[in-house]
Amino acid sequence: MSVVPELLARHRERLSGFPAPLQQQFEAGLRALAPRLTPTQLEMWSQSGIELTALSLRSWEAAVEYFRAGAELPQTVDWEALETLARESVSMAAESAPLAMSFLRAAPAAARELGPTHLRQWADLGRRLYKGNWKSSSLAAQFYDQAGPLFEVVRLNQAARLVVFIDELSRHSYELASACLTTAPTVLGGLDEDDRVPFISFATELAQSSWADSRLYFERGVHLLQKVHGPARERYLTLAAQVARGHNRSAFQYFEETANAMGELEPDDHFRIIELAEQLAPHSAFAAMDFLVSVPTVLSRIRMDELDAWQDSGLRILQMSHDGGEAYFRLQSTRGEDVLDTLSARVELSKVGEIMRLYCKALTGRNLSLQSSAALTEKGIGWVDQDRASTEGTTIFLPESMERYHDKAENFAAMKVFATHQAGRIEFGSFEFSTDLEPATLQSRLPSLMASRESAAVTAIEAFFDLFPDRKMAADLFTVVEDGRVDASIRREYGGIRKALQRMQQDALATRSDIRKLPLRQAFVENLVRASLDGDDAVRFPKTHREEMEQGLGLLGAAFRQGSNVADSAEATFALYRIASMIPNTIESDDEDGDWEEVEAPDTGDKMSVDIGELGGEGADMQMGDVAEGEEYESPDDVDFRGDFKPELVQLLMKLREDAQGGEAGQQNPQQLTPEQLQELLEKSAEINLDAMMEGDIDQTTGMFLSNLMKEAGTPSGDKENKKGDPTGDASTGEDEDEAPLAPVVTIYYYDEWDFRAHDYKPRWCAVKEQKLEQGEENFYENTLKEHAGLVAQTRKQFELMKPELFRKIKRLPEGEDFDLDAAIDWMIERKAGGSPNEKIYWRRNKIERDVAVAFLVDMSASTDEEINKRDRRPDDDDYDDDPRKYLSWWVSKRRQELSSPPKRIIDLEKESTVLLMTALETIGDQYGIYGFSGYGRDNVEFFVIKDFDEHLDNAIKKRLDKVTPIRSTRMGPAIRHATHKLMLTDAKVKILVLLSDGRPQDHGYGRDRTEKEYAIHDTKQALNEAKREGITPFCLTVDRAGHDYLKTMCEDIGYEVVADIEALPSRLPTLYRRLTE
């Protein structure tokens, strides 16, 4: 303690020349520091203060602050920090005493907020603002002065950014810089931690490009920024900074506009929208910002998922021309407007598919399915064009979207015309050509002709095309006639769609290529196409061949008449082919346009039967002559709304399907196709040939088509051929070959999914694919019953007791079957006594029917593959510690144990429990359905029917049970929704849904990432609530020990149970069910 007076004494003289506070503060500082410092340190500290007084005229004031700081600095400040402080203040005071004063005055606060170790960095930040003049000095001083409030809010690195900004701003205006600095603590305090640095970065950019806006930014920025979704803010600011950097004087204005625009959008979309803007920014910052400003307007017309397409088409323009692209995103270009119109008017198959399917089903009366054309080409069975409609007899394929017109209704109408034409092919029998079919409006000549020829053809249509040397032309002619006939029939039968059809026909006519440039024979076919499109006015042909054209049109007209069938088309094709083959396929000199004139069909009157001889030239000779000279024939342009027409392939498929079904029934089909026949048929199809040629390997390609086709038809493929080709194989019985089951029928249902973040459903989000589970072995069922014989008997007995009594007498009713004698006597007495008797004197039997339907949903996720002993094994049970050798021996012994008795998996117990429950339910007679579910991703939720409500327990179902196996993920929501749907179809009074699972819901895309649990749980919860709303009693049963955690959330007021002892599941499940329904 003696050191303090000593130092005081030593420096008294030196300090006596200064005002009194210096001395006082010195003493106070000394006394405060003395306990913490060694005498030497204390002396050095004193020395620095003394040094300060001598630096300049007013530096003694800094010294006062220095000594005061000594007293006020927090206890944590060690000698090292004190030394730093001394060094910094001395050097600072040498330049500017007021600066050092501010620094020292704020130092205690800064040390408290930042910690003593950061004092130096803090000093540096302030020094950066000091430029040697008094304005900068006062700015730097202000910075130091604000240490307290500032560092209460921000961290040092954020302050560093702030200083960069203030520094930048001070180049332009010290006043502004000072003002911003003043508000900084409040402004930054209003921001989320993560947003601060980007916020200041943008401010810095702003200070560089349009500094005057900085104050506005500081005033309003925080508020504006709140409009941007939190996680997206940083990227948004970075983007905005990028724009400002692009020497944009109106950066703030843009910032304000875009922020306001973002405020109008769904927060969840912000991320994606900013991402899209970021893609534009490298090309043009203006475009990126304009894009953001325009988004709300754009989204009022199109959906969020269409925004990508709109941005993409703008981006492409932008890449070519900046001005063009910028105008596009400012919504000031017709092109942008067009794209918007198209997008907003687009009709997507995924949205209208189900309507179209039912529509086509109604029209045809067949159980059709409907898919996108791409699905057909993927099958690889001969169709190659992804965008054209078509049908293969059981499914109608339509393009994925329709964006032909600027109006949704018109696009829908176009889609409907597409669908109607394909349905028309089925309804009006385009694929039903056979030699037995008599033509209705044309003279019948083909049957006899075809009968006279030996043909190895498999299908009738193939035999028909075999008649023609130029197969391609014959196919084209047949297509024109048949498509035209279908259109004509549609026009006749469906008055309502006529207008839309006409429009499509006219559009098709408008885009046909110039007929005068075509060689004559092709022009002939082209004219037929035009006529079939109801475009008789567009028929042009040279005068010299007028007669042939007239005959052709006449034939067409005859084939289109009411009552015509596909055989008429074939007859017409035959006659047309003969006419066409006589026309040379040469280009008519087009010097004189006058040579081409309009041709009209001759009036054939109402004769029901048209003599082909009359129209098709001298028809006595039925042989196909050589084709007249000229260029090689090429097909006319496609008519898009009619799509692809492949009668040969369709008939082949139908034949294959028939064969496959014949095989199912165990019949021997004498006309089974040989592979050679198939190959031949396939090679005849022009399109396949073309493809194969391109591939350069015909055999391989046709081979592929072959197996695809067989697969499509459900015929056992591949090895079957080998067997047939194999001389040792017994091909004559054909017994074992035909047993392969038909491909399972998959029905797709769409369900919404609940997004708890958006508090809304995602419409038609999940595709549930329902199919019957394949059949396995039957003995699984029986074995389970044997294994649990005791339990079975017990359960059965319990359930017998549940059978309700059929009748119960209800008394005291105002009306009923008969009097209740007691009540009637009371009534009489009361009445005689003059009172007002109780009129409720009847009784009736009330029949209580047990009217229960229950759906069991069995989790077939991969996790159910887990073995039970493994689950039961607790870490502390393992006696191998961490020693690898011990582990190995443990593993070996375990493995041996497993091999001796195969371990049971969760799924096995699920199955066994189900069997037990089934026997119980059979006893009691409740309606029940058993379903399994699994899948991967939202578009592939597999829903397996093990037993449907309307099925009876038979061997097939017992066999299906065996096939319950772990598959993939657990997307519970859609499975529950589908089971709910199934339950709603029953008319039971009590409906129960039991969900049997082994863990939490989980799937790809079922949440933000694989580890997120909330989304899946919320959706499942929502699905359960939906079921409840429908009057269903849901119940969740899990064997997951951790189940309580999430089941509590998932099943708020819904019953659930965690079966801790998994092995008890088979006995527990029936008991639970009983409790549920009693």
Binding site: M356, K361, L363, G495, R844, Q927, D987
Partner: protein
């Protein structure tokens, strides 16, 4: 119990209600002669078929026809024509045996027995038509057993009586196999007491004629409506529980005849009447717009 006429409407005692005017009925097959033969032989008849296919109309028509032939043979020379009354009971799930047979009602000074419609039909020899019989409680179906075999008796337990059926009595029941469900099915012991005549929607050309007659619309509208009927029925089991009935098609026709635009008429009479499922509605709507302009 004479018929009384209140303001503008006639009230009949059930057993006295007869069909005075010939109902319109277009035979689709041999159902008319079959029914006549069955009636002559007093074999009870079960009419099976979907709703709105003409079962009730058929019974009315037969009641009218049989009455005529009946009067010709029995009441020869007498001016007052005797018609066979038709007693129709629409069955519902709370219909009990006493609702059919009769019950005691309270009177001022005790109780009074009132015959139920079945008893009345048995007594006067009417055709008793139990519509949608599966809807009724199972105990009612047991009740009709003795009436439907050679005995032709109705025991009235509460009165301790057995009523012999009058000569003209015949029991006709109808049921709709469309609601096939384990709970709503006829017991075999009941089923096998009737001959069954199946009803389905008439073929297109006959349906056209029926619509045209009943709705008083032109042939072309009737054809389109019949076509619509055919198409919509294709959707049965796929979104629709039951196909559109001839009755609904007639309603649509009536609306069109009164000037309601065809598409709108079909919407209210068919699309919306058939289903609440928006997607199916939309599909039917598309069929409608394809057929009607």
């Amino acid at each position: 119990m004479a018929n009384t006429t209140y303001q503008g409407h006639k009230v009949h005692a059930v057993e006295e209600y007869t069909i005075e005017e010939e109902p319109y009925y277009l035979a689709i097959g041999d159902e008319v002669s079959l029914f006549e033969t069955a009636y002559e032989q007093r074999i009870p008849v079960l009419l099976k078929g979907p709703t709105g296919a003409g079962k009730t109309r058929f019974v009315e028509y037969m009641a009218y026809r049989l009455a005529r032939s009946h009067s010709r043979t029995t009441a020869s020379g007498e001016s007052s024509e005797h018609r066979t009354p038709l007693i129709t009971v629409a069955c519902h799930e709370d219909l009990t045996a006493s609702d059919l047979v009769g019950r005691y009602l309270l009177d001022s000074d005790g109780t009074r027995w009132v015959d139920g419609p079945l008893t009345r039909a048995v007594k006067v020899g009417a055709i008793c038509y139990l519509d949608e019989v599966v809807e009724a409680r199972k105990d009612t179906t047991v009740l009709i057993h003795p009436l439907t075999d050679y005995r032709r008796l109705l025991p009235i337990e509460k009165l301790g009586q057995v009523v012999e059926a009058a000569d003209g009595f015949l029991l006709v029941i109808s049921y709709n196999p469309g609601y096939q469900s384990a709970l709503k099915d006829l017991k075999h012991s009941t089923r096998q007491r009737f001959i069954a005549i199946e009803f389905d929607y008439p073929p297109k050309d006959l349906e056209t004629e029926i619509i045209s007659h009943e709705a008083e619309v032109g042939k072309d509208v009737a054809t389109d409506l019949a076509k619509l009927g055919e198409k919509v029925r294709n959707l049965k089991e796929h979104g629709l529980g039951e196909g559109v009935s001839t009755r609904l098609l007639i309603y649509a026709g009536k609306l069109i005849a009164q000037g309601v635009p065809a598409r709108r008429a079909c919407q209210v009479a068919i699309t919306w009447a058939l289903t609440d499922d928006l997607e199916v509605q939309r599909s039917i709507e598309e069929v409608v717009t394809s057929i009607f302009e």
